[in-house]
Assembly symmetry: C2
């Protein structure tokens, strides 16, 4: 253990080296054995990471809004973009697609109306007739007419864009001084987008466009948290949740047919945690029905919205016990621990999610402060869906090196990397979050094996059944080998 | 374990409650049994903490420079100030005393000269003759003459004060945009103070004043990291390290005689980690000699200065092996892991400190990212000296709820709370750091038992021998009981 000298002990360099190796092998991907080509790529990767660390402006230490262009222009990012990342397991239905597409394409379609709310937000609707006025909103403007009237349509488009995303060129610390402000703006942006995206023809295309963006980012599979909102037609007719779910299924089938190396999509039905018990009970009932009728695409159930102001999971325990009571299997994928308040009722969500046998945990930011829940999550193999940029923008953490996933990755706690609401944050796909995870909290010790493990985790911890997972892994491995061959030199 | 329903499982509320209790009992102080009076005080304390959490401006989430007045005026702070906190185990020699005392008392003494460096800093010297010019500094000004010449001495005093501390009323994020800037200003401030504090009559009084400030803050014992700098007299004669150490001993004896409920001081000799091997070797030799000659006051040895730019401990392994090779016991108290760079050579300091049998770890900020080192520290009972305000001001962490000690406290990892360089941060004593620890990363779950455990830790993990510890604990317990009696209602 150490070299003896005069009855005392001085550290033996070989023992020291063995401890360093032991620690390195404990991290995510620490036991992955790389082949020759992978080792060459890993050497390039380490060099790239050292270059990132040596920068005066270290992107993971900065707010993503300021860091985005630095990241995008880095060789590291190009490489991560090309890398087959497996699945994105934590993405929300209405924040998948670059806002640019909504502004430049959707809002330019005919019969698009907009009004200005008295909370400095906007609302949209498509309608064959002049729509009924909305409460607390200005009279409707037909966008076509409005654009013809204004001098500078670019200004108008910028203004619209600013309402649909949190991303800003201004100082984000000034614009979003605290969690209350940023969550409020977040929910306003969702409501602004609502009327654009829930219009049936747009809805279909939006999802197709979302799949395209993730596919281009070399993501092969998605699990989408979806509210399955009421979708409307130009004449005001609406469709129910089953229709919406079927649309997701149809679009996925079409996309997969056109892109055979894309594996597919599954949907997690979500309801807002601000709702009351009877609404949540109804949503659980609906989820069980959809799970029975659409077993291929339905993955399970979750609650969304800001945990700190919503009701804790335990409040909904009767509703959440329904499936079990009826002997029906409805997998849960709970958001939990997206908080920095310790010891409150909401802070028990992590434990309760695990007690309700959640399949994964959305965020789990607070897990490191809960040793019992942490141990349970490890033992049961319940993976965390870590979304670094989301946690930073929503003001849980400033410097991403301080993200608790740094500790979790150092001990290979089950986790995957995801992007939550990339469109809201001015990101897209998964690569920006992979950059933050790998360069930010992965530290210099994480390597190609870590990235490989994260990609494999995203399939192993998905809701796919065993044989689907094998198929997906085979597909992923083929793409991975190609990626390594093309980039190892 | 759970209630059965249709062959499946729903969470049993009693099982859930038992897990919540189990987790609560795992935290620092989680197993402390409170007596009736303590329970009453704990109820008050919880109420105070809830009031702090409910504030719009939550102090632990803010930079300390902005939070200080909010903290100082809170009922929680008054209570923590009155609380007997045990020992302060991580405090540096030249940052113990409120800067106000240096400005308003020391710089007003006769024969105090000041010059302005070309790095916008200042230097001082006391001298019976006009002092020799310093390189890179303006000609010397006799402060008495300068003050007679300037219109507004308050302005001058403010300017001097600003050079002696990092504390500022300006926006700290603007003034200190990154770690390089804040460390540079930190070292400049030390150099500015140097000539004031190393003047023999001031040196003695400075330390006495330091003991007074900690004593008033209800700290009963100190372990001071001391450079034992060359101390000078008015005529330029200087004293060696032994003289300086003896002065610490004399002042401590005087102070303890005057304040029988103060327990004492021990000194940890420090050398700057920017030094080369031969300087460090010499310092280790000196430390061994002092340890032999002054066993009562000498506690051991440490390296100081910014880890990220200094040499790693392993670089100095020959020097650090000397005591063992010679069969001499020289306890180490290494600063280690005060970094957010992961995977660098410096990031091995934690492991190396433990391999060199360090008695405690200064900061250990990075420990949660090092599972092997973490396990070693736990097994060997090597406590971390957690200094929350220091870590925030030196820009390792922004929102103190994200401090890694939150996770460590949740699992009762051995640790103590200390204040590092309170004068540099505009703090004093230990109470501000106790506030940040208790309200910030302790969360709502930490309670009076946690505070009690932290105080006891500060004696149990001190360098005092077993019988001294028992004496100190008895003294502390008496003060604690008085504190509880006076504040439980
Ligand atoms: Zn989410
Ligand atoms: Zn220190």
């Amino acid at each position: 253990m150490c070299l003896l000298a005069g009855g005392l002990c001085i550290p033996d360099p070989r023992y020291r080296e063995s401890l360093i190796q032991e620690e390195a092998s404990m991290q995510t991907g620490g036991q992955v054995v790389l082949n020759e080509k992978e080792k060459r790529l890993d050497t390039r990767l380490l060099k790239m990471k050292q270059d990132e660390v040596a920068r005066a402006d270290f992107p993971p230490a900065m707010h993503f809004f300021k860091a985005r262009d630095l990241i995008r222009n880095s060789p590291m990012f190009s490489l991560l973009q090309k890398m087959p990342k497996g699945g994105a397991l934590h993405v929300h239905d209405l924040a998948m697609v670059d806002i640019e597409w909504l502004v430049k394409n959707v809002t330019y379609r005919p019969l698009c109306y907009m009004c200005f709310t008295n909370t400095q937000s906007i609302r949209f609707i498509f309608s064959s007739q002049w729509p009924e006025p909305l409460p607390n909103c200005s009279p409707w403007n037909l966008l076509e007419t409005l654009r013809a009237k204004v001098v500078n349509t670019t200004d108008l488009d910028n203004r619209i864009r600013g309402k649909l995303t949190l991303f800003t060129d201004l100082d984000p610390e000034k614009v979003y001084p605290n969690q209350d402000v940023v969550w409020d703006r977040f929910e306003q942006a969702f409501m602004s987008m609502w009327g654009l995206v829930t219009y049936a023809p747009v809805f279909r295309e939006y999802f197709y466009q979302g799949l395209t963006e993730f596919y281009k980012d070399n993501v092969m599979y998605l699990e989408v948290r979806a509210l399955l909102p009421e979708i409307y037609e130009l004449d005001g007719r609406t469709h129910d949740k089953a229709w919406t779910l079927k649309t997701y299924q149809d679009v996925t089938r079409q996309f997969t047919a056109e892109h055979p190396d894309f594996f597919g999509t599954r949907i997690i039905l979500t309801v807002h945690r601000g709702a009351n018990s009877s609404v949540v009970t109804e949503a659980v009932e609906e989820a069980m029905k959809l799970q029975r009728d659409f077993p291929d695409i339905m993955a399970g159930f979750d609650l969304v919205g800001r945990e700190d102001v919503g009701r804790p999971l335990w409040y909904f325990r009767d509703a959440l016990s329904l499936p079990t009571e009826r002997g029906v299997e409805l997998p849960f994928f709970f958001h939990a621990g997206e908080t920095d308040l310790q010891g409150t009722d909401v802070d028990q969500n992590l434990l309760d999610a695990l007690l309700f046998n959640t399949s994964r945990i959305g965020h789990g930011y607070a897990l490191v402060r809960h040793p019992v829940a942490k141990e349970l999550s490890r033992k049961k193999g319940v993976a965390l869906e870590v979304c670094p940029i989301s946690n930073q923008v929503m003001k849980l953490v400033t410097d991403l090196r301080n993200h608790p996933a740094a500790a979790l990755m150092s001990e290979n706690h089950p986790l995957v990397i995801s992007s939550d609401d990339p469109a809201m944050f001015g990101a897209s796909g998964l690569s920006y979050d992979f950059y933050e995870a790998f360069v930010g909290f992965g530290g210099l010790r994480s390597h190609l094996g870590s990235l490989k493990a994260l990609a494999i985790n995203s399939i192993r911890y998905s809701s796919l059944n065993a044989s689907q997972q094998e198929k997906a892994l085979t597909l992923w491995q083929r793409r991975w080998d190609k990626f390594v061959s093309e980039n190892a030199f």
